[in-house]
Symmetry: D3
Subunit: 134 residues, 6 copies
C-alpha cells in the first residue's frame, strides 16, 4: 500500500506532476520477481513441510509486491502518449501482473512461471528506458 517508487537520473517530472517524487524504475519489480523465482526453486528443492509453508507465505508476499510495483508504473509513470506509442503496453502490464498473481495450485510455485514473469518485466523495462530517452 505504501510501497516504493524509484530512481531516475535526469529530468523526471513533467510540469503537471508535482508529487509523488518522480522516481521510478522497473528494476524494483524485477528484483521482487527474482525473489519469487528463487523461492520457487527452493520450494522445489526442499520437501520439509514447514519450510514449504514458509516458502508459500513469503512467495505470496513477494508476488504481491511485484504486482504492486508494476501497477504503480502502469498508473503513475506511463502517460497517454506512451500508450499510444506502445499499443501493447496495457496488455503487457496486464499479463505481467496476472503472472505475478497466483496462477493456481499448479503454476504458482513453478520456477518456469517465475521465468515467464521475469521475461514480461524485461519487456516492460525495455519500453520504460526507451521512454526515458525520448
Amino acid at each position: 500500500m505504501r510501497l516504493p517508487r524509484f530512481l531516475t537520473p535526469t529530468t523526471v517530472v513533467s510540469a503537471h506532476c508535482d508529487l509523488p517524487c518522480g522516481v521510478y524504475d522497473p528494476a524494483q519489480a524485477r528484483i521482487e520477481a527474482e525473489s519469487v523465482k528463487a523461492i520457487q526453486e527452493k520450494y522445489q528443492a526442499n520437501t520439509d513441510p514447514e519450510f514449504r509453508t514458509r516458502a508459500i507465505i513469503i512467495k505470496e508476499q513477494r508476488a504481491e509486491l511485484v504486482k504492486h510495483h508494476l501497477w504503480v508504473l502502469w498508473t503513475d509513470y506511463f502517460k497517454p502518449p506512451h500508450f499510444e506509442k506502445y499499443p501493447n503496453l496495457h496488455q503487457l502490464f496486464n499479463e505481467a501482473t496476472k503472472l505475478a498473481g497466483a496462477a493456481g495450485a499448479k503454476g504458482s510455485l513453478d520456477p518456469a512461471v517465475g521465468d515467464q514473469l521475469l521475461g514480461k518485466i524485461e519487456e516492460i523495462s525495455k519500453i520504460f528506458w526507451e521512454t526515458k530517452q525520448a
Copy 2:
C-alpha cells in the same frame, strides 16, 4: 497488500482459477471513492489547519485503496476475452487509477475530481456487471 476482494452471487470461478476466492465487486472501489469525495468536501468546508492535515492524510489512504481495488479487478477479475470485447477497458482502468492517484496540488482535494473518479468507476462497474451476465 492484503486488501479486499468481493462478492458475487453465482458461479464465479472458472475452471482454471483456483484461488483467490473469486469474489469481486466494483462497489468496493466506488465506496472508497465516495469516501475520497466526502473528505474533499469536508476539506473545502473547514479551514482549521489540523483538520486539513488529517483530511489529507486520510484522503491519501482512501485514494490508495481506490487504486488497489481497481488494480485487483483489472488484473484478477478481467480476462483476455473481456479486454477483446471492451477494447477501451484497459484505458478506462488506467484513467480511473490515475484519477485516484494524486493529481497534483491543484486537483487532489477538489470534489470535482472525486466526481470524475466516481464516473469512471461507474463505467467500469457497468462493464463488470455485463460480464457477469454473460
Copy 3:
C-alpha cells in the same frame, strides 16, 4: 490500519463528527465474509497441500479484514443512543468478530462457520440500516 470505510446515500455526518469521512456500510464486512466462506469451500474441495496452504493464508487475511470492518463500525459509526436502543448490539459485534477470528483448528475452515458469520453480519446490517432511517 488503513482500511476501508463506506458509502451512505444521505446525511451521514452528525454535527460533532468532523472526520473520518462519515461513509460507512456493513456491506464491506459482509463482502469479506463472503470471501472467507468461498475460501473455506474451496479449501474443502481441494486436497492439494500447496493450494490448502495458500487458502489458509488468504483466509486469515480476509477474516482479519472482516474483523477490522466490524470494529470500525462498532467504534466509529454507532453512537451511545444506538447502543441504548439496541441493547444486544455490543454482544452482536463481539460474537461476530469472535466468529471472524480464528475459531481454532476445527472450525476455521468450515464453511458452516462462514455461514454463521454471515448471519451475524446480516443482523448488524439490519440494525445499521434502521439507524440510517431514523
Copy 4:
C-alpha cells in the same frame, strides 16, 4: 492487521483456544496511548508547521494502534463469562476506542483527551488483571 498481542505469566489458554498464542496484555494499548499523549504535548509546544504535520501523521498511526490493541483484547481475550461479570465492559471498550479515534479537529491533539484515554485503558487493565487472577 499484523499487530501485536501480549504476554501473560501463567496459564493463559483455555482448552478451546488453540491459536493465536494466548499472550495478551493491556499494557500494549496503554503504551501506545502514552505515545499519543506525548505527541499531543509536543504538538502543543511546537508551532513549526512541518513539525506539527509530522506530529499529526504519527499521532494518527499511534491512535490507530491503540484502537487495534483494544479491539483485539475485546474480541480475542474477553469471553462471555467476563462480559457477564463486568456488565459495563462492552461500553468501556467502546468509549476507549472512540477516544482513541479521531475526536474531531478540536480534541484530537489535546493532551487532556490523551489523559482520558489513559484513564479508560487503566479501567480495562484493572478488569483484565482481575480476570487473570480468577
Copy 5:
C-alpha cells in the same frame, strides 16, 4: 511501518529529539517474543496440518514484529554514547534480530530458539534500563 514505540516514566526526550514521541520500552519486543515462543510450543503440541500452517503464518508475523521493535530501539532510542559505553550492544541487537528472523526450517519452530531470543532481549532490556537511570 506503523509500528509501536513505547512508554517511559520520566524525562525521555533529549533536546535534539523532537519527534517521534520519545516513548520506548523493550517490553514490546519481549512480549512479541513470548508470543513467538508460545506459538512454537503450540506448534509442537499439535499435529493438525491446518493448525500448523496457521501457526507458521502467525509466528512469521510475530517474529517480524520482534525484529521491528528491536530495530526501532537500536536506531531511534540508542545514541552514540550508549554504543560507546556498551561496546557489544550493536552485536547484541544483530544477534537478537537474527534469532527473531527465520533461522531456517530446523530452528524456526523450536521453542528453544524462542528461549534464546528472550534471553537476548533480556540482555538488551537490562542495558536499556541502565541507560534510563543514567
Copy 6:
C-alpha cells in the same frame, strides 16, 4: 513489514540459510533514499500548504522504507565474519538508519540530509559488493 528483499546474480545462500530467498541488493535502500531527497527538493520548491503536507506524508513513508531495507540487510544479509572484517559496519548502518529516520523538524526536509543519507548508503553498498566478490 512485508517489504522487499533483493537480487543477486550468483551464489547467495549459505548452507544454513534456507529461506528468505537470498536475494539482496542495497540498491533498494538507495532508490528509496533518492525518493526521499527528491521529495525534500520538491518540498523546498513549493510553498502550497496542501502540497507540503502531502510531501511530508510521503517522505515519512519513503524514509521508513529506507530504514526497513537497511535493517533487513544488516540483520539478514550480513553475517558475523562480515562484521569482523568491517568493524565499522554496525555503526555505519546505525548512522544511516538514524539519518533515514526523522532528524527533527529542522533536518527532515532538507535535501542536504538526503544527500548525507545517500552517502552512507553508498558506503554500505560498496562493502556489500565486496562481500559478494569474496
